[in-house]
Symmetry: C3
Subunit: 350 residues, 3 copies
């Protein structure tokens, strides 16, 4: 069966902070994976199944860079080789599937497809990761819906007016025209609002940056979808008539809403959400406040999306409408579908 996600791509498997010396079992892109720190603390990922009796490796422990099965003690190396077992000749024990993984920008990335095609040069560049001018905070939700419903959600921020009325929504979002384009391998959706009142979330950000909270602002939202399922959203407000998104740094507050979306099953996904910002980057209390606010906001999406999935699961033939506001999601889905189709094409001589 063809899956509904791209196989040959880097997905976020975990945040770096999740991966301590305790192994972490997680279903990712339909695979049972155990993530752990191999030799020298380098991340490793194996299929979460002991080749001896099928036990779940992630219930075991990590020792000297190997996974030790918690049932009978088989040690599996980071490359999947059966490495040691008391009283046994491990050369006859089958290898465990190892997945390409990389740790970058505070995340552990996993490549669920052909290992030979995994190329770290394809990892996205995240500017905030190692730059003191930036601060980042975020969290993780498991959401019981097709990951593409989350892509739709993020590529059409019209929903903020309705789902997030008390925090980031405002009626001017609905009213501002939206433009969707393909640009450099990304789907980009842009919306600009001029001379509006900042909604509560942005008032707090303005205050945090020492700017007035009740002056009219220009607000922008520029959503970038890139395969396999990353959505980065440039958001911000500038004091009105200062140039909007291009205003000088001291007249605006801006940030990137970070959304890494990893399928778990056909009807569930891991949603790694966060915000990278350039205002007040040295203020960890602000980071915590923003994270808490985002957590509340994205929990509102969770409720909407899980109910949407239930409705769609009961109506396999329901057709979704594609209005102009849905162009971002529709083009993102089309890009995903095209790449899945390309993966199914046999290689020359294959």
């Amino acid at each position: 069966m063809t899956s509904t996600w791209i196989r040959n791509a880097w997905y976020v498997a975990a945040s770096s902070a999740e991966l301590t010396d305790i192994p972490l079992g997680r279903r990712l892109c339909g695979e049972d994976v155990v993530l752990f720190r191999g030799p020298g603390g380098v991340v490793a990922a194996l299929e979460d199944v002991c080749p001896h009796r099928g036990a779940r490796l992630s219930l075991g422990r990590c020792r000297e860079g190997r996974m030790v099965c918690g049932y009978h003690g088989l040690e599996v190396a980071a490359d999947g080789a059966a490495a040691a077992m008391a009283g046994q000749d491990v050369s006859r024990i089958p290898r465990t599937r190892a997945f390409p993984v990389a740790e970058r920008a505070g995340f552990v990335w996993l490549w669920p497809g052909e290992a030979s095609e995994a190329d770290e040069a394809l990892l996205p560049h995240l500017p905030w990761a190692d730059d003191p001018q930036w601060a980042y905070g975020g969290g993780l939700y498991r959401i019981a819906c097709d990951y593409r419903l989350m892509v739709d959600n993020l590529m059409d921020l019209t929903h903020e007016t309705h789902v997030h009325a008390t925090s980031i929504g405002q009626k001017e979002i609905d009213e501002a025209p939206v433009e969707t384009v393909l640009e450099g391998g990304e789907v980009v959706t842009r919306r600009f609002m001029e001379g509006v009142t900042a909604p509560p979330f942005w008032q707090a950000a303005l205050a945090g940056a020492g700017l007035p909270t009740d002056a009219p602002v220009d607000r922008w939202q520029v959503c970038h979808f890139s395969p396999p399922s990353h959505v980065l959203i440039e958001v911000g407000v500038a004091l009105a008539e200062c140039g909007g998104r291009e205003a000088p740094a001291e007249r605006k507050v801006s940030a990137i809403v970070v959304d890494f979306i990893t399928p778990e099953t056909e009807t569930s996904h891991w949603y790694f959400w966060g915000m990278a910002r350039t205002f007040a980057p040295q203020d960890p209390a602000l980071t915590a406040t923003i994270r808490e606010g985002q957590g509340r906001i994205f929990a509102e999406d969770l409720a909407v999306l899980e109910a949407q999935q239930e409705n769609l699961s009961r109506r396999p033939h329901q057709r979704l409408l594609t209005l102009n506001i849905d162009a971002g999601g529709a083009q993102s889905r089309a890009m995903i579908a095209r790449l899945i189709r390309d993966e199914a094409v046999p290689l020359p001589g294959g």
Copy 2:
């Protein structure tokens, strides 16, 4: 697939008290329905699916008599028309299915079948609804069994002796002969017990009406099944030798046990239960006491019926016995089956 319930009929969807200005989502007769108050507070019912992206409308809000989808703000009118959406031409958005509904006698009634056949004249007349000589109290349970098992239960009160031994059961029920007849489109089951001791529930009622609680009484139970799945039970006790059910009002206490049973799925239903009484109708504390007692009693049925459903689900070929005491349920099921069969007959020229 033929469903196991009649489609062209009025079912109770909610009590009037449940339907405030918050929309109410509920699965009824296999349909996802959102109930809300349309223009002027008149009840309305739509399929609980937004025609835009499949969101659950009942997670949205009700504004000026329209449902506003909580995802992107599409407004759907009470008749199902897409009525407004910021920046959109709603004329191209498909209608949402609207269900005929009516509010009557403290309940919201829904017609899940052909809208063109919905006739409010077919709504049952409930004498207690607008008459100060009557008081009514009740509640709602969701029960995980085929709704017909509840019809069986109510049309054979022999079970009171065993299921409700501490409240309304007594061994004389088992011993009194039961008579089942078809009468005016209803299945009627009658049982009379003469010169018995009142069980605890009726002792409390006698006390509430200022009558002696320890004198012998004549007791009666007359169950009326009418399609699609309503069971009204005339119940009461009169001081012995005063005429039983026909005794003068001051020598008896009587009531109607009200049971509106609405399928949710093939193996679950909504059970709207209550009691309408003519004794002490102006005593709200008594209404509360009776409701609490009924709630406890019907919870006993719930446990029995859900376990019965589990047994039957595991044994699809299990044959149920039909003893004489089961005649009421059997004839009610036969009436349901006949009406379902009639619905399947194409109309002339159809």
Copy 3:
């Protein structure tokens, strides 16, 4: 369909202590069973389904040695005959299936197969049951895995080093050779460790018996599998160089780990675990301490086995390896498979 368990055999259905005057409903070997005390307190077992309307008999009550259905009061005798019902001729009510049962050695035993083949002479002899030189304590877990994964677990105690590192595990178990033989219709697995340090569980036992806890000991584990799925394990430690398992009683502490394993469904089972011991048999506080310790230890197995079952259920074609340490489980499974095959052979003239 062929089940994965032997049908014609005695399985533990309950401990005697569980079976009070309240009937006990339990799914055993794929059958819904109600256990109760029939005439004279003798155990009885019926299919847990009332022949009248399919109610669950175990929700009813036990009266004068009969099950009384909690729905309409049908009385079913211990042999399955419909015995009484108010106002009914019970001769037309079908019999309920009765299962052969026996109470022996503190347990209720059930024979799920052909009743005509049930022979109490086949019940296992449990030496500790009626002998004041022995003490017994135990408990019950429901575990969501194929019962044969539990047999594997118990017939290969290598897992103790890893699963039970803090109580009974020690690295010498892994290192000691294991021997598996067929002996008297049993699969027997033996492991001996000489001159080792006693692990915490056995140090406590040595202390309980008044022996030094820090002296080197000889330790043994002799696992006996007998059909259908009983595992009795002789375990103990003796002060080193006193003869090991054959040491005089005052130089050792020994016990039998008792494991009766009863399938519930294809992927779940009832695990009756306990320990019978000859040291300090008159010390009920020690019995309680051991039971608590065993309960903690077996809960560790539960977690491992349920995760193993999940892995295997998702991978129906996963092949399990059979290393030398797995010989005990493999031979036990082979014995089970052989007996199931024999049951499928039609009897002569059949």
